[in-house]
Amino acid sequence: MKKKKEKTPRQAMPEQAAEVRRRNFDEVPLGFPEELAMLEASRCLSCKKPACVEGCPVSVDIPAFINKVKEGDFTGAILKIWEKNSFPAVCGRVCPQENQCEGNCIVGKKDKPVAIGSLERFVADWARNQNDIPMPPIEKKTGKKVAVVGSGPGGLTVAGDLIRKGHEVTVFEAFHKPGGVLVYGIPEFRLPKAIVAHECNFMEKMGVKFETNVVVGQTITVDELLNDEGYDAVYIGVGAGLPRFLNIPGENLMGVYSANEYLTRSNLMKAYRFPEYDTPLVTGEHVCVFGGGNVAMDALRTSMRMGSDDVKCIYRRSRDELPARGEEIHHAEQEGIEFFFLHSPLRFIGDENGWVKAVELQEMQLGEPDDSGRRRPEPIPGSVKTVDCDLAIIAVGAGANPLVTSTTDGLDTNKWGYIVANEETGKTKKGQVWAGGDIVTGAATVILAAGAGRGAADSIHEYLTWGW
């Protein structure tokens, strides 16, 4: 029996062909059909001490849900996942599983690991299309009120956890749609917006209230939520929210975008469907995206879909240091993105009307490792070249937006402006205020924000139940 299991190879999810998908915004992987999901589930060894669960920031009982899939009990599988994760359709798509659950999978020691992410996605997608799945149980009302600031993955986790524990939860969102980075940041072809909307509707069905168009720090402050609006606890999960630029000449030329702006226009505002949607977006013939993380990959692949044939990723280190997920890099390459490793921008060159037309690049080489442990890129003297560039997107990370921190009394921030909070509980120096996700750690991933939300939700629940 055991031998037979080992022989089943890891099942690959069918996906749209690269030459087709590079020109549309439809999702790239198409999902497992039922038989394939059950076959893949049969590869799981149901380990007694599951290392995969240890790798999951929200501790989903992975062997248990996979077992249900194996048996064809998909309802059982989704209920199992929901115990720990409120939005598996999202996590199944955007989590870096290779470094988490799948990275720890015992099967992966000798063979390819069980496709946990794909199975999670399969179960969530299956459940979305059913009408008769029982809702997760909700405990008796406690009469306590919690305000969640920001409706991204962290805020949604806190909201989902606390509503089930019987607390009243209101989520405040600055944009006109809930979902945070899941809506404005991650493109449709990686995470269809209908799925995020479905997950938020699911929260609403459980009783979570969403208030969009509220900028906490401007429309209302954290102190007002606590003192005037009668909230017993506030969770701040607003994300990093401040675009980092390159600080080189020519950066304010037209055609130069922050990745935040480019992706928000295209994802939240649906600029890729202009003129059906009113928000415009510049399309370039020669696109350069600066940076090598997941956001850079999203910007690269979006600009390719907007109709460009010449799309370059400009990265100052080498391929080995690229911070993006392997799958994203692989998809980008398949779609025809060109990688310019070991190049660093020096300045943008504009035309007579103020539009960017070229960028000057310095060739780099790798020196000794720096503080981050990665080999430091150093300029190669005399190696400067100019490449055409009529659309530049800067994706070199984000900083801490001060809108909430500067308007809240007694909230400690570190020298970069991030909120100081306990790593496990999310507790800040200010009573009744918790924080987590990118506004505490700096830019990270969806699931790490969800994990921080989980810890904070437990701590908030404890406080609401027992006091300090």
Partner: protein, 283 residues
Amino acid sequence: MYQILSKTELAQGTVVANEIHAPKIAAKAKPGQFIILRVNETGERIPLTMANTNEERGTITIIYQVVGKTTALLASMSAMDHLADVVGPLGRPTPIEKKGTIICVGGGTGVAVLHPITKGFKEAGNHVIAIIGARNKDLLIMEKEMKAASNELYVCTDDGSYGHHGFVTDVLKEQLEKHGAAVKEAVCIGPVPMMKFCSKVTKDFGIPTMVSLNAIMVDGTGMCGCCRVQVGDETKFACVDGPEFDAHKVDFDGLSARLTAYQKQEKEAMDAYQKKCSCSTEA
């Protein structure tokens, strides 16, 4: 959600005032701050500075000129219709304190933005000289309100159809020559070229000057960096660092250029909208 309570045409259907129900914003807003609105589900987000707020009624007033599809769509809505989204108040309020003599200069729909600021300076005990202008008499707005909000009011039209024949800069220069160092601050709000030339005039007289910038924005919370402007040696975000800045440091030419970034798409959208409107009228 965000109901339009009234609609007033201030100039031949090209300048429109809307009073909108938005109690949270009305309770918080201060002179100089703005909102971002979205007319409908497929609409874009546009920033508009508030001309007035009424906390009791829970309303804000916006005044805008019809320049593209979104403002045309907005102007086509009637009282009792609803806007999809209104968010605010955004940006920093105007720092208003008692200083002495203040000159407030407004051009076009900039007068609407200038009005609460003018009123604020007068209420704070300043002697306020207001100068307002428009291309012609029909486009001149809020003369009565500005008269009430200031101690002295001067009116100009580019074509001489009303008041002083010429630009606001002419009157600004006269007033600065007359009052000299008694003028502690100037506030200039209007089209970018007007602000640029006002700024040149006040710089010659060494008068601290503030301008309110109407950069293109998306979120309005400092998240996207679309509205960046060069102010002195620094790149600032108009949405969170502004919208008001030291006029003598602002790179107006850079701002003008960035405001044209979507000219082509704006024209395409407007043409399609007008075609659709005329078709539906014919049908």
